[in-house]
Symmetry: C2
């Protein structure tokens, strides 16, 4: 666009340069490499710049340097309470390094995720994919274009932060076993979810260690309603306790139990995962705490490190989890 600059046009470097009686280059360096210039030159330029309201143009800088100062953050579903704390933490980490973050919501669809990433790729330095629903091939494809960090997705060769439910689930099962439970169920979440697979396996392993019988009951999706709906199936197994894929599902299960007149925890114990509801259920939920905010913070830091020193490597950070015992677990009813 060839445009005469109106009176409200933002000042540019040449405006500053003219006002200061120096060249465009010098102004540029005053901002990006001040140590290259004379001390008083720098201060004079900065002063003049701020006096006429000059602000460097992000886009122009990006074009010539190829560095955008932006990162993309893509999650499957913003409205799932697991993600907001993570988003907030990632956001703040990026913020401290003066990065802006694009948010994408894939709506649990790999096509949507793919489309968003294609849109973002031209204006970001790096990607942060949370619980990606993409195939490994496509993840590798995107990672080949831009530095990429994954959360809760274990792809060899791509830096990743994994919330390891193993420890927490182990504790949960030990807790149930100590209370005297013999038969439990695991209420699974989305089959494409890495976390779900990991938790399911951890439950199986833990049950083996403590000699408990475990049934797997599938909730179609991770939601309050599907937890509530699956209660009859849970009870049909004859179990006295359930570990749910996540807190939201666990919460639904609690309500479903109440609907059927089964009291929690005296008649049935419930354990969630993620600790996103805090103590907000009644009774408050015993759960495996996963600190999604720590994951967000760790992953963003990792990504930013990557962007500074291209020391890629095959980072694989795992975050421990632990059981938080609250009010939804007790000894099984005698019969």
């Amino acid at each position: 666009m060839i445009q005469g600059k109106g009176q409200n046009a933002r000042p540019t470097m040449v405006d500053v340069a003219n006002a200061a009686g120096v060249s465009k280059s010098t102004v540029s360096r005053a901002f990006s490499q001040p140590e290259m210039l004379g001390t008083e030159t720098v201060s004079r330029i900065l002063e003049i710049a701020s006096s006429i309201g000059y602000v460097p143009n992000h886009t122009a800088r990006a074009l010539s340097t190829g560095r955008y100062g932006n990162v993309a953050l893509v999650v499957p579903d913003v409205t799932n309470p697991f993600f907001p704390p993570l988003i907030r933490a990632a956001q703040m980490s990026a913020d401290l390094a003066d990065y802006c973050v694009f948010l994408g919501n894939s709506d649990e669809s790999w096509r949507q995720e793919d489309k968003l990433l294609d849109r973002f790729v031209g204006q970001v330095d790096g990607l942060l994919l949370v619980a990606s629903r993409l195939s490994e091939e496509r993840i590798h494809g995107h990672a080949a274009r831009k530095p990429t960090v994954l959360i809760n997705r274990d792809v060899r060769g791509i830096p990743r932060v994994l919330i390891d439910s193993g420890q927490g689930v182990q504790e949960a099962i030990a807790h149930l076993a100590a209370l005297g439970h013999k038969r439990i169920v695991y209420v699974s979440g989305p089959s494409t979810s890495w976390s779900n697979q990991q938790r399911r396996n951890a439950v199986r392993q833990g049950a083996r260690d403590f000699h408990l019988h475990v049934d797997i009951v599938a909730a179609r999706v991770a939601s309050y309603e599907s937890g509530r709906a699956v209660v009859p199936t849970i009870l049909a197994t004859g179990a006295s306790a359930a570990i749910a894929f996540d807190d939201v599902t666990a919460h639904g299960i609690m309500t479903g139990m109440a609907d059927l007149g089964v009291s929690v925890p005296s008649s049935f114990s419930v354990i969630g995962c993620d600790d996103v509801l805090g103590a907000a259920t009644y009774p408050s939920l015993t759960t495996v705490s996963t600190r999604s905010d720590e994951a967000g913070h760790a992953a963003m830091s990792l990504l930013l490190d990557l962007l500074n020193s291209r020391s890629v490597g095959d980072a694989r950070i795992t975050l421990d989890t632990h059981l938080v015992v609250r009010g939804t677990t007790s000894a099984p009813p005698r019969r």
Copy 2:
């Protein structure tokens, strides 16, 4: 950066131009103004472009056109359940128009909000501020630079989408009055929040209409914990029902009541606002439903309209609310 292009450099327009035996301009027009060119020229160029994997450079285009294809979305707190549905809806609306969205979390601080906006301003076409904590002056300042739309903030001259709690709160009070309540309390939220002021006034007005006595009890912030903590104060007023600033606070109140052995709803009725918890509390919460997702959608659509046709005007869209009666309200206890 003066760089020889490595073998993995993305192809540019000139690459396409050379391959097609035309000039750079022609390739440009094949993408942005195809009707200006010969039909077969366009198709040939597009074909060659895709065959060598050419993708237009978003940043370069932005630099010369001054249009970025991005919008900024700033909220006070991603982790407050009111916002994620709104974010999701805004995101999807932007997505349909091929816009990317920057997300900012102001952490309830106007300084942070200001800082984020300054960072965003250089690479967005418009701003969407949700429940902004900025002063009117600063809002006007930012709005002068970029087309701006507000949600739940009523600033004259700036297009805004307001969730009007009036109707819903009126219904809530009618509901309580019909049940026989005489004395109620309003548990307020953040004092800087427009929604809080609006709801407080609506409660006062409604109470006047139905001849109820209303006390205002201040929760320091809108959170589960502060709702829980304020329960003794609520009970001290002698009221038999409470309307809380939002669902999260209401939920806290429910727990606080249970802590003190006051049963909801038989001994005390509770009504929330926002309907973000769905039926997820127990008993399920009677609340004023505000459809934050609709607000997100409406506001983003408004902003995008603004960006296309600078028909600014002083749009002021209000969204109705209504009461959803669930399980936390009943007749007051007899004494």
